[in-house]
């Protein structure tokens, strides 16, 4: 079986109504339900002249990512989102359809790596950055990418940011996830000396037969990123199976051996 191991050294997450670690603990225990919508977080760590360029998507992505980027200067990063700044693209296409001139700002910020670019401008950190778009299976694809990038770094670390929001009008919202916005940022480490208390995970690629079963058993519309948060928070949960049309991945907690 093909496996890869990595450690989650730190994480931050945001979804409407669930922001603080205490709120995430309550959520993981099913004592708190996210709101359907809420104003995006303010992204405090970003200077105002850059913050004004952030959409609601960018604000929540950088609200979770910026503190981790600042705490780990020089960290390489992976930004992963299925739809990205689709709202800006829709606005641009509407202007094209109406034969109106395009907004240069919207155009420059509609590209998939714009949010990561704004973070690197805010932190003045020119570290390598990758932007991924995944149809589904985004958590495993993003973490796998981040793990491989981390292996190439001197500090064996990478920042992985996963975020999305519901499709903007005129797309039918019910046709495609997510039902509500979310953002998750993780500092991952690949090596022999993880931070004390960090959560070591192993990624397994399941066989097609097992995958088929997992796909059939897949229930609910919770974003994969939030399913991963639950795995990290719940001590009793030992593994998470994420099935998509093409692959099925399983994340297993590894036992920490005390020295």
């Amino acid at each position: 079986m093909n496996t890869i191991q990595l450690t989650i050294n730190a994480w931050n997450a945001w979804t409407p109504g669930v922001e603080t670690r205490e709120q995430w603990d309550e959520w993981a225990e099913d004592l708190r339900t996210p709101l359907d919508q809420a104003t995006a977080p303010k992204a405090e760590g970003i200077p105002p002249m850059l913050r004004r360029r952030l959409s609601s998507l960018g604000k929540m992505a950088l609200a979770v990512a910026a503190p981790l980027a600042r705490a780990n200067p020089g960290i390489a990063s992976v930004f992963c989102s299925q739809h990205g700044e689709l709202e800006r693209t829709v606005q641009l296409l509407t202007e094209v359809a109406g034969q109106q001139p395009l907004s240069p700002t919207q155009f420059s910020l509609s590209v998939h790596n714009a949010i990561g670019g704004l973070l690197s401008m805010a932190t003045k950190d020119p570290s390598p950055m990758t932007a991924l778009a995944c149809e589904d299976g985004e958590v495993s694809a993003a973490l796998l990418e981040a793990a491989l990038i981390a292996r190439e770094q001197d500090n064996r670390q990478a920042l992985c940011v996963i975020y999305d929001e519901p499709l903007p009008s005129p797309y039918p919202r019910d046709d495609m996830p997510p039902a509500r916005p979310y953002a998750l940022a993780l500092v991952i480490y690949v090596g022999d000396n993880p931070a004390p208390g960090a959560c070591p995970l192993e990624l397994q690629v399941l066989s097609p037969d097992t995958a088929q079963g997992a796909l059939l058993a897949k229930g609910g519309d919770e974003p994969e990123a939030l399913q991963l948060v639950r795995l990290l928070l719940l001590q009793k949960q030992q593994q998470l199976t994420l099935a998509s049309a093409r692959h099925t991945w399983r994340w297993c907690k590894l036992q920490v051996t005390e020295p």
Partner: protein, 87 residues
């Protein structure tokens, strides 16, 4: 502050999403770009587009003349006034 001055400052704020800045925060004879208000090259393009949409003024993005017009709010006032007089 005359009406056009006020109008242009509001146009700058609205066009460039200057959320935390009010009309009174923009000093009419201070630089708009890099120093002063601290706008950048994308803002210059966006502002050029806004002037075109609102007043029908077409500017060449690369010309020295355009740079002079964009120096501060007073030079923009002069540009719009001159354009309106010529119509």
């Amino acid at each position: 502050m005359n009406a056009l001055e006020q109008e242009l400052k509001q146009l700058i704020i609205d066009t460039l999403d200057l959320e935390d800045i009010s009309v009174d925060d923009i000093i009419s004879d201070e630089p708009l770009f890099v120093e002063g208000l601290g706008l950048d090259s994308i803002d210059a393009l966006e502002l050029g587009l806004a002037l075109q949409k609102r007043y029908g003024i077409k500017l060449d993005a690369d010309s020295e003349e355009t740079k002079k017009h964009f120096a501060n709010v007073m030079s923009l006032v002069a540009l719009v006034t001159e354009h309106q007089a010529g119509q």
